[in-house]
Amino acid sequence: MSATVAANDYRPTKRDYSLIGRDAKRAVEIGLSAAQWYHTDVARKQMKELMKRDDSPAIRDTLIWLGVLILSGAGGALLWGSWWCVPFFLVYGVLYGSSTDSRWHECGHGTAFKTQWMNNAVYQIACFMIMRNPVTWRWSHTRHHTDTVIVGRDPEIAVMRPPDLVRLILNFLGILDAWQAMIDMVRNASGRLSASEQSFIPEMERHRAIRVARIWLGIYVATIALTVYFGSLLPLMLVGLPRLYGAWHHVMTGLLQHGGLADDVTDHRLNSRTVLMNPVSRFIYWNMNYHVEHHMFPMVPYHALPKLHELIKHDLPRATPSILAGYREMLPAFLRQLRNEDYFIKRELPPTAQPYREEFHAQGKSAAE
């Protein structure tokens, strides 16, 4: 299927982000859902080399990740009651509440490790820590890749228009996200899935989502029971609360993925952002800062994304040079979207790039100028 209409022309009123709402139906009707997306040409031989799987980078990174997680958690627990525990929990929190966003993601794609049981093991651990049901989120992420930032179809649009800035700020401490995750977990554990969940999780997979939610609920009840029994917050500082106090890094990097860019287009160069970052953030984020590249070629493992970037950057907008530069670009766009939700940042292509297909963002183009 392909869309041949100006995507923004069909929307009569404000955006409807419901997965079972008006814009969801229209996106399917006009062929904007499950459409053909733009890809930069890459020779098959080069792409095969980039797609090649390798256990060693992910084993190395996972040993570092789990090693530092355990040491920082142990340090925080041993120094609990003094201020010296704070730096340990700052590290532990980010590794628990932010690194797991990228570990969940990469292992969900099955590309981080060559060996599938390793992908599955890290996927389950990371999903628990980031509080994302491994079944629900596998399917929601599948939809995110089919219909990236298509209004009404993509369940993972982090910044809807007009932006809810209070919600964004609160999520730097995971407050609303984690609360919603707990509600979802309790609902799933009771044997029920929401209408939205049912819209993208196949029937044959739903019992798995319910089973995981029940196991997780048991773990959280046990953690709370230990907290009450010992009269100490320490058990929750190690399990559960790091999803709040350590969430800031994954929100900081995650908002940059698509924030302020186009919606309802079928070219990842228009709706995704590649940001160059410091090595620590890249370790935490497992190279998802190369986000245009990841969406265009999800088969390429995280450790090969820098090479892919070098290979195709002639066809992409210039990479944003830093996290700070990304926010300097994105925040004014959020503020403008409060007044005009059709506004978005249209990123310039280099002269060497294939041009954007104008028919997909005719109205959006005028809003961007």
Partner: protein, 104 residues
């Protein structure tokens, strides 16, 4: 029994790789295993109709380029989410350096 259709030269498919073959309005994927055996399946992923020939062959697995769904290309068996429906497979023979498919 349907006739055998000549698809391509055996050397057109690299070892542990896949190519696309279109015939009579249908699309197929032809695989060459690491052991130099040839196999064929329908060409589009059963999940969202993406060409498998753009995917990655690893041993006996073909991974879809869009959502990383995996199939055993020798049997067509789906190997877990997001693919749930098996691929159709087709008999393949190699004669005088040419690959032939028997299409049902």
């Amino acid at each position: 029994m349907t006739d055998w259709i000549q698809a391509c030269d055996a050397e057109d498919v690299e070892q542990e790789d896949v190519i696309r073959f279109d015939h009579a309005g249908r699309t197929f994927a032809i695989y060459r295993s690491p052991d130099d055996e040839y196999f064929a399946t329908e060409g589009l992923c059963t999940h969202e109709k993406v060409h498998l020939a753009d995917g990655l062959v690893m041993d006996e697995i073909i991974e879809c380029p869009k959502h990383n769904g995996r199939f055993n290309y020798k049997t067509g068996a789906a190997r877990g989410a997001p693919v749930c429906v098996n691929l159709k497979t087709y008999p393949v023979k190699v004669e005088a350096g040419k690959i032939y498919l028997q299409l049902g």
